[in-house]
Symmetry: C2
Amino acid sequence: MEKEITIYDIAKDMGVSPTTVSRALNNHPAVNAKTKKRIYDAAQEMGYQSNIFAANLRKKKTNNIGVIVPRLNSNFQSSVIAGMEKVANEAGFNLVISQSLDSVEKEIANANTLFNSRVDGMLVSLANTTESIEHYNRFFKKGIPTLFYDRVADHPACTGFVIDNTQAGYKVTQHLIEQGCKRIVHVIDNIDINVYADRLKGYKYALLDHDMPFDESLVIFSNLSEESAEEIVEQVKKLDPLPDALFISNDACAASCLRPLKLAGFRIPEDIALVGFNNEISSRLVEPNITTINYPGYEMGELAMKNLINHLEGKSIGVLSKTNKITLRSELIIRESSLRKKYSPQPT
Amino acid sequence: MEKEITIYDIAKDMGVSPTTVSRALNNHPAVNAKTKKRIYDAAQEMGYQSNIFAANLRKKKTNNIGVIVPRLNSNFQSSVIAGMEKVANEAGFNLVISQSLDSVEKEIANANTLFNSRVDGMLVSLANTTESIEHYNRFFKKGIPTLFYDRVADHPACTGFVIDNTQAGYKVTQHLIEQGCKRIVHVIDNIDINVYADRLKGYKYALLDHDMPFDESLVIFSNLSEESAEEIVEQVKKLDPLPDALFISNDACAASCLRPLKLAGFRIPEDIALVGFNNEISSRLVEPNITTINYPGYEMGELAMKNLINHLEGKSIGVLSKTNKITLRSELIIRESSLRKKYSPQPT
DNA sequence: CACCTTTATGAAATCGGTTGTATTTTAAAA
DNA sequence: TTTTAAAATACAACCGATTTCATAAAGGTG
C-alpha cells in the first residue's frame, strides 16, 4: 500500500508547522481563517486521513462505547441497541457490541476486552447467571461511566435504567384478578434476575392486596424460549385444580403457548386468560391478541445512551453518580387474550 | 486518576528493557521462559493494562471490524449480527456496529466514520436506497477487505454472501402453482435491491415455465412492515379478478396480513394461499402457520465473519478476491397456509 | 514612537508500545 | 581453553497527532 499522508506531509508542503496543521484541522480558534482554509483544502486534495490511534494515544479517549448484552437476536435487545446506536451515532460515538450469551464467563471476558480496548463508557445488561458485578470494578475505579439497563444488579455502584417491574407485575395480576381469575400461573426465568424477581414480587403483592393466597406451585420456571412453550403447557395441564390464567414473562413464549393450549382444549380467554410481556409483534399477530406490558426498549436505549454521553461530555456532572435507578414508564395493554368481562375498560 | 502503568515502569522495576517486557507480554519466542513468567507476574501485580492505542499506532491494526446494517431491530439482521459477533468474539475481534436506517446519506456517513476509525475489515448490508457503492472505494483502494451480505450490489468489487433469491422465488411460485393457484400476487420492497429483484425474477421464471402469463398488476410494492399489512390487503381486495395466492417477501408482514385477510372474508389457504419469507418466529405463531423460505441469518453472519477473518489472517489469500458471490442454501418450508392439496409432498 | 495587547505560529516534548539491528550472554563444538 | 553458533536482551528509531510554552507579528493606545 502507499504510505499514508500525515500532518507532517501537509506541513512541509505548505511551509507551516505540524502544530498549525493539527490546529487548523481541528478548527482551533488560534489559527487564522485563511490559513485554515488553505490547510483544509490541501488536506482534502492530498487525501489526508487523520490517524485516530495517534490522536487517541495522546488524548486518552476513543469515542467508543462498549455494550454488553445477553444476546443480540432478541426482539427487545435489538430494539434497545437500535435506540442506542441512533443516539451514539448522532453524537459521534461508535458502538462496540458484544454478547454474553447468558454466560458469566463470557461476560467477564467481554468486559475485559472492552476495558482493554479503552472504551469511554459502558452500557450493560447482565447475563442471567451473573450474580456479582465485580468484573466491572475496573471500570468504576478508573472512572469509566458504566450504566446498566433492564437486567441490573442490586449494588450501590450500579446505576441503571429499568421499568418498574414490580408495578408491572402488580398491574397484570390485578387485571387478571379483576377479570375474575382465581388461580393465576406466573412463568418466569431465573429468579436471581431483577426483572423476574420484581415481577414476581408484584404478582405476590397483588394477590395479597386482594386477599388471595400465594400458591408456590403456580410459579413455573422456564427459559421463556419459543421451544419451551410445549413444556410449560404440559406443566400447566398437570396442575390440580387447573389454573384460569397464565402470566408469562415474555410475549414470544406466551404466543407460542397459544397453540398447545388450544390443542389441549383450553379456550382463551374463557378457560384460561393469557398475558405476556414486552409488547412484541408476536403478541399482536396471534389470535386472540395477547394482553401485554409495553416495554419501551428503543426508548430505553436512547435514554441510556443520552445519559451516558451527557455524562461523558460533562453536561451532567453528578447526576448519574447520585442516581441509582432511572425508571421508565411502562403500561398495561389489554387485549382479547385476557378480556373475560366484555364491559372491561380500555379494550385496545 | 492515578497514572497508568506502562511497560517502562515494569522494565525499570525489573531491571530489564522495555523491549523485553513488550516481547514477554506478547509471548515472543525470543524471550526466556523464566523471564517471561517473572515479567508477566510483575505486570499482573502492578495492574498493568496494555495501551492499545500505542500498539495500534505502531502496528496499524485495530482488531475492529465495522458493520453497517439497514436496521438493527429486525429479526433477520439481529440474527446475522449475533452470528457475526460470536465468530468475531472467538477470534479476538471487536464489532463496531452502525445502522443506516435505510438512508444512503447515513450509510455514507457511517462508512466514513468506520473508515476513519480504521477498522480492519467491513461487513455491509446495503440500505434500500443505495444504488452506488462508490463510498466503499476508499476501503477497496486501501485494501481493507469489505464484504457484503444479503443486500449486495451488482459490482465486480462487491464480494457478497447471499442466498439464491431467484431460486427461492422460483420455488415458492412453483409450489403455489402446484397447489393450483392461478393468480399469484407478489409483494416486494424496492426493486432496486438485489434480493427483491431476484425473487421477482424467480417468480417470473416459474410462471414462464408453467406457461402462465406475467401480470404486472399482480406485483405490489410495499415496505413490508407490520403496519403496511392493512394497505396490502386493501390493494389485494381491489384486484379483479381476485388473486388466489399471496407471496409476501417477509414473514412478519405476511403474518400481519393474516387477520385483515380473514376479516375480509378470505379463507387461508382455500381462497388465498399465503407464503412469507425468512422463516421468522411470526410465521410459526399464527394460524394457519405460514409457508416460508428458510433464510439462515445466523449462519450467514457466522460464515461472512469467518471468511473475513480468515482473509485478514492471511489464511485464504485470494479466495475472496477471486470470488464474487457465495451462496447459502435456503429451503422452502411448506406449512398450512399454502397447502391446498392434502396429498402434497413434504408437509412440514 | 515606545509599550502593551492580541493574534498567529512554531519548537519540542509527549503519549506507550513495537521492531530492526546490535550487543551480550550462554551453550555447544572443536 | 578457544571458537562459534545460538539464545537472550538491549538500544533507539519509529508510529502520528496533540499540547505546553515560547516567540514573532500585528494592532492599539497615550
